[in-house]
């Protein structure tokens, strides 16, 4: 009982995958994101790391066109961290 919050945290963590696209350029981050999302269940969360300046707009466009929910999109030290939740029916 005392550990219920830890278990919740663990569950959330296990449902997030990370896709490392650092060093890859357009359209490779998009291709890899699409393939990774295809293998995920609805509601699954994917974290994408990229350093291609075009990646943020490209991934936002991909999410927008497919109805996926963007949870976070921010740059830190030249690395984009893009967090997206897979929508239903895709």
């Amino acid at each position: 009982m005392c550990c219920s919050s830890d278990r919740t945290k663990e569950k959330t963590k296990s449902h997030a995958r990370t896709l490392d696209c650092i060093g890859l350029y357009c359209p490779e981050p998009l291709f890899r994101t699409r393939l990774e999302m295809d293998s995920m269940e609805q509601g699954g969360v994917l974290e994408i790391l990229a350093d291609d300046p075009a990646a943020e707009e490209d991934l936002a466009s991909f999410a927008d066109k497919n109805g996926h929910r963007i949870l976070a999109s921010n740059w830190e030290n030249g690395i984009l961290r893009f967090l997206v939740e897979k929508s239903a029916g895709v």
Partner: protein
């Protein structure tokens, strides 16, 4: 969700870079959720002949492929198949012109097709000629 249109591409040139870029555009459109319909004609149809797809003697391309900066055409075709919405057709007139039969073509070719059938696909699509 944003509405977008399907894509039709007529491949005319057999130049490696042109076919590579055309397949890349087709795959990007498919990755975004659209159908891509590709009709290979004239010299481009030679790229659909089994074991000829990736043939090149261009040093720049050979080096780019070796360095992983460019994808092979066979890799792009396989990726399109994985996306499930890239459709490859061979122009029946070009097959006759080039003396190429169906059993010489890679298995990813869905069927041979005439221009009027292909043009019916592009009524509500964006069209490129490469």
């Amino acid at each position: 969700m944003v509405e977008s249109r399907d894509l039709c591409i007529v491949f005319h040139s057999g130049d490696f870079e042109r076919v590579c870029h055309g397949l890349t555009i087709a795959n990007v459109s498919a990755a975004l959720g659209n159908d891509s319909h590709l009709l290979f004609t004239y010299q481009a149809i030679k790229r659909l002949v089994r074991d000829e797809t990736d043939r090149t003697e261009n040093d720049f391309i050979v080096k780019a492929l070796a360095g992983g900066h460019m994808k092979k055409l066979t890799e792009l075709i396989a990726m399109g198949r994985q996306f499930g919405s890239v459709h490859i057709y061979a122009c029946s007139g070009s097959m006759a012109l080039m003396n190429i039969s169906r059993d010489e073509l890679i298995e990813e070719v869905e069927k041979s097709m005439g221009l009027s059938t292909f043009m019916a696909l592009w009524e509500d699509a964006n069209v490129l000629f490469i």
